[in-house]
């Protein structure tokens, strides 16, 4: 069923299992009881950050497959992505997993864009099980987008901290005891001419607002437990709430807006505006949020992963930061 950018999935594909693994710093997260694995080494025992990143993806995917009671040969398709150039960590992890694979890039929104794509594949009824998700590793992402890790640059209060973490799940045909994908809204690229790469929250908030507004307008009358954005951080979340307050979207049945980036590290000022990265939303959505859905603590939620579509080159050439947000509505009956 289609309504311009919003799609409803009649087959109600279910997320049958998930796995989340994070790095050592993420132990501080209030979500950490819901992480399956907390590694003590930020390189995961590998000799480069990038190898560590690939290892994290591979191990988390294997865990998601194992928790669902499957083998890697049961997986019809692996959809995933990360933030490193040419997505080598995901590509290399897919080499080890040896499943059919398609790489996806929506920056930090890949956690949801991979789930939406997986839902479409299942809706076509040609596949049984699809592995989806995304990951990020602090060192390998920071070195690419910003400065060397040990460089003493001062970050402003709007700065965010890239999460070392991975969240993957397996989407399959409807199972009554598992949350399912009710509908999804595919985001448009929105550019409000923000140029500061140390203030991604402000750049991404309009994209999140656009997608949320569209999704809610197509699902009027639906009551949500909450809407949770990806990695707007404290700054971006405050701006999003202001945009919603002044726009009339607040008249829809949502009064709880959350952000996984803003909540990820609790209230520790060291992390400034909060967490970011494609592993941020993935490890929160497919860890604690999934667990709470399973326990039927929540019944209907809207997950809106946000991504900043910049490169270090585009920023140096003076381009603004275009952003995207993809939304997926999960339901637990």
């Amino acid at each position: 069923m289609k309504s311009a950018r919003t799609y409803q999935f009649t087959s109600k594909p279910s997320i049958v299992s998930t796995a989340v693994a994070v790095g050592p710093l993420e132990k501080q997260s209030p979500f950490h009881p819901h992480f399956d694995h907390v590694y003590e080494d930020e390189r995961f025992g590998q000799d480069t950050n990038e190898k560590g990143h690939a290892h994290l993806i591979e191990e988390t995917c294997k865990l998601a497959i194992m928790k669902g009671g499957f083998q890697t040969t049961d997986i019809d398709l692996f959809l995933g992505g990360d933030l490193v150039n040419q997505m080598t960590p995901t590509n290399f992890a897919a080499r080890e997993l040896a499943t059919p694979f398609m790489g996806m890039f929506s920056a930090c929104a890949t956690s949801v864009s991979s789930l939406i794509t997986a839902s479409f594949f299942l809706e076509s009824n040609q596949m049984e099980r699809i592995l989806f998700g995304s990951a990020s590793q602090h060192n390998s992402v920071e070195r690419q987008f910003r400065y060397p890790i040990e460089y003493g640059a001062q970050k402003p209060p709007t700065g965010q901290w890239t999460v070392t973490g991975a969240g993957y799940g397996i989407l399959s045909h409807n199972q009554s005891d598992k949350p399912y994908v009710h509908s999804a809204t595919i985001g448009q690229v929105i550019d409000c001419e923000c140029t500061d790469p140390l203030d991604m929250g402000s750049a991404m908030a309009p994209a999140a607002f656009d997608t949320i507004q569209y999704h809610l307008s197509q699902n009027k009358g639906t009551a949500y437990d909450f809407v949770m954005t990806g990695d707007l951080g404290k700054t971006g979340l405050a701006i999003l709430q202001e945009l919603i307050r002044t726009s009339g979207v607040s008249s829809y049945l949502v009064d709880n807006y959350r952000d996984s980036g803003a909540e990820f590290y609790g209230n520790d000022d060291k992390f400034l505006s909060g967490a970011s990265g494609s592993g941020c939303s993935a490890s929160v959505y497919y860890g604690p949020i999934y667990a709470e859905l399973l326990k039927k603590q929540w019944k209907k939620i809207l997950l809106v992963a946000t991504g900043a579509l910049l490169s270090p080159l585009s920023f140096q050439q003076g381009e603004s930061i275009p952003c995207i947000a993809h939304a997926v509505e999960l339901t637990m009956e």
């Binding site: 003493g152 409000c192 202001e242």
Partner: protein
């Protein structure tokens, strides 16, 4: 959404850089680093055969060495977050820029990695430092030749 009105919303809500506080911590951090540099300089003058003029070279090397150790131990980035320009402007900041890049690119080998990237941040300091030194020297030479000032 209109980009201009949106920027106004951002300006209202997004937290600003605490400029005054940053200036004060930069002053403090930069002052402490320079104070340590002065002590090092005195050490070279009192315990080694250096004059006030010649002590500057070993002092700079020693300060870069300190920055190297602190960068390797992961301390300098914390000083940088606190001190801002105060830890970036002195020569220790230059050392930190060189060494952090060298550490970062070690995984790509010593030639293409460390050698090729060591000066990726500090390179512009060298380029424009040498160029401005050349311009200043040129101006001074002309003024001396014209008899306006003397060496």
């Amino acid at each position: 959404m209109d980009a201009k009105t949106y920027q106004q919303t951002v300006d209202q809500i997004a937290p600003k850089r605490p400029v005054l506080k940053n200036c004060m911590t930069a002053f403090l951090t930069g002052g402490i680093i320079c104070g340590i540099g002065q002590i090092v300089s005195f050490v070279y003058m009192y315990f080694f055969p250096f004059t006030e003029r010649t002590a500057s070279n070993p002092t700079v090397s020693t300060m870069v060495f300190f920055a190297m150790v602190l960068t390797g131990l992961g301390v300098y980035k914390k000083i940088g977050q606190f001190g801002g320009a105060g830890s970036a402007v002195p020569v220790t900041g230059f050392g930190n820029a060189v060494i952090s890049a060298a550490i970062e690119h070690k995984t790509e080998g010593f030639i293409l990695g460390v050698g090729g990237n060591m000066f990726k941040l500090a390179g512009s300091v060298i380029v424009y430092g040498v160029f401005s030194a050349f311009v200043v020297a040129l101006i001074k030479t002309i003024l001396v030749q014209m008899g306006v000032i003397s060496w």
